[in-house]
């Protein structure tokens, strides 16, 4: 549900970059939505598609990298991949695990059309 707020913020960040960097149109937008970022990627795509008409992102290709959730198991000391914060360690079934990666939603870069 909050994907619309996040999409709004992404568009705002790109529009601010457009002013600073003097571009009008974006060809490609690359985002990163980690598995533990709390973002439903299809919902984010849907929200972005709904709000980009009329902005510099209209018509842009949007790529969303989805790095896996990474964590460190307190019990066995292994660095593991998890899909949610509630997961136990996939190796030893222990918990808790401490999240070490895959929890961010970021705008990575844009390919923009030169004026």
């Amino acid at each position: 549900m909050h994907e619309l707020s996040l999409a709004d913020e992404i568009v705002r960040m790109v529009e601010a970059a457009a002013v600073r960097e003097h571009f009008k149109r974006v060809a490609t937008l690359r985002l990163e939505a980690g598995a533990l970022a709390g973002v439903e990627v299809p919902a984010l795509r849907f929200a972005l598609n709904a709000i980009v008409p009329g902005t510099c992102l209209e018509g842009a290709q949007i790529y969303i990298d989805q790095p896996p959730g990474r964590a460190w198991c307190v019990r066995c000391g292994a660095e593991v991949t998890i899909t949610s914060r509630a997961d136990p360690c996939p190796l030893c079934d222990g918990y808790p695990v401490q999240v070490t990666g895959g929890s961010e939603l970021r705008v990575l870069d844009l390919v923009v059309l030169n004026d």
Binding site: A17, R85, A86, L105, V112, N114
Partner: protein
Amino acid sequence: MCIVCGCNNPEDHGAHEPAAPVVLDPSAGDLHYGTGTARASVPGLSQTRTVKLEADVLSANQRLANRNRAHFTAHGVTAYNLMSSPGAGKTTLLCATIEALRRRTPDLPLAVIEGDQQTRLDAERIRAAGAPAIQVNTGRGCHLDAQMVGDAFARLDLHAQAHHHGHRHEHAHEHTHDHNSPEALLFIENVGNLVCPALWDLGEAAKVVILSVTEGDDKPLKYPDMFAAATLMLINKIDLLPYVNFDVARCIDDARRVNPGIAVLQLSATRGEGMQAWLDWLLRKEAAQQARS
């Protein structure tokens, strides 16, 4: 001649690298043209260029939250972000808390920022209980954000109360605060939602998640982001335990699985059980903050 490299055999080489990427520091607006492999920017040679941002989407909210946090600290205000599903009892708990604090610490300034999609019903209940409240209506929004909380805080009596001054003044403060000035409590009642508010820092001292026994004991595993973000879990409506299948021990165990350090209190806002321990927690954290200042 090839206009890119100046050689006489433009047919012999393939396409040249696009113009050097422009690296941007989003917060300072700095530009760096020398980061491409050629260490130079050659404008006008390509149709497109890459602009790197590598910026967290929540960074703007984070900056506002940090500003709120500094503002609260400077004013001696301890702020709590109360979150739960709709109907878990946040507003009833706040009304009971306000009444209990008025008895126990009558001089302690209190205020509430109420978040709902629509209506002023909750702010009115808080005011009837005896504390100032600002209602924030989010419309279709599902969570409060740092901007809303900053705007609401500026409108609260707590702001002027904590200053001890009668005059109105601009946001930028020229004077520093006497650390012996009384502390104050600000409760932020978030929109009823166990999902979205977990991601938005409001500048609070701590997030508190309220789970009532009628909602089922499996919520910490079903909504791990919320329980991972909270400092305290309040299990509410314990007076109803005889009538529902709620395994308290399992719920606490699951909450500690996603957040080993989470504190847990059990209470009934309507009957009063557990309220003193909740007040102890509120006032102890505030004392800890006072000790730090």
